[in-house]
Symmetry: C2
Subunit: 147 residues, 2 copies
DNA sequence: CTTTATTGTAACTGATGTTGTTACAATGCG
DNA sequence: CGCATTGTAACAACATCAGTTACAATAAAG
């Protein structure tokens, strides 16, 4: 099973917000949905999660949406956590009722746990090491190169 | 979304096979299902995948099931790949039709790709570094300690 | 050669999660 | 006030998962 695209959509939306300039038209959920190519409600749901995580400020009605911090202070791990694509520490699911009468059944969970936690932590560390600013810089570089 | 428990069940089953002794009663799907605490068909489906990956030999009818290699020569990454919990290189799903008329839409996929691949590779490397033999040794150690 | 236990596989179910959609009340700017 | 927009609920369509029933194919044992 794949990790939900909520994560990539969230990074997309945050990139739009990070690159927004003072003079620009306000970024509404409709506009953002146009860039992501989805329904505005999908964007609003994700914005709700980013807001709950304290990453964005959404001013109701026609107030616009803004980052609460510099893109240099937002890691992709924070975004990943914000959109709850995976419950904390639960990337792998483990069969939960093995037979305790069998030595393997009794100990498999504990024997596997350390490895699964390490694997998950390794993935999260990679996300922690990338900042939103790096993504937007990369986007701008690619945009400049292709023009 | 979580990674399917097929992976942990497969490691459980392979541990049973690794710890099986010559004199023991044959490990049928029914017996293994008893240890995992699930339905025998679930076990047979997973055995089918492990067989396809060349990790086990299943002799039809009442012939028993065996590892084709030493547990020291089977990494958890091979098991992970065998049960196809995640299509190769596709742990993260990315929204696939961003708007090319927007600079962010046009470049977000490429900008994210390297990071997502690295994160996934970090996870897989951890699995590659653990052998089935380590799991069974750990199980035996825990079983000895609790007796 | 027949009996018997077992595997391999198809088909179906119920539960859950995702993405997209419609609908509409609440909000706050002009 | 009027209006664009947000926040949220409700629902549909779809996919995957885990469990189950059913049964033909297989091969070992007598």
């Amino acid at each position: 099973m794949q990790i939900s695209s909520r994560f990539s959509v969230a990074v997309h939306v945050l990139s739009l917000l990070a690159l927004q300039q003072p003079g620009d038209a306000l970024l509404t959920s409709e506009r953002m949905a146009g860039s992501v190519n989805t329904n505005p409600v999908v964007i609003r749901r994700i914005l709700g999660q980013l807001k709950k995580a304290g990453l964005v400020e959404v001013r109701p009605a026609s107030g616009g949406t803004f980052l609460t911090r510099s893109p240099r202070a937002i890691s992709l791990l924070e975004v990943y956590r914000a959109v709850e694509v995976v419950a904390e520490g639960q990337l792998f699911s483990v069969h939960d009722q093995p037979n305790p009468a069998c030595p393997v059944g009794r100990h498999i969970q504990a024997a596997l746990n350390a490895t699964l936690q390490r694997a998950q932590a390794a993935l999260e560390q990679q996300l922690a090491g990338v900042l939103l600013a790096q993504v937007t810089t990369d986007i701008q570089a690619k945009a400049a190169a292709s023009s």
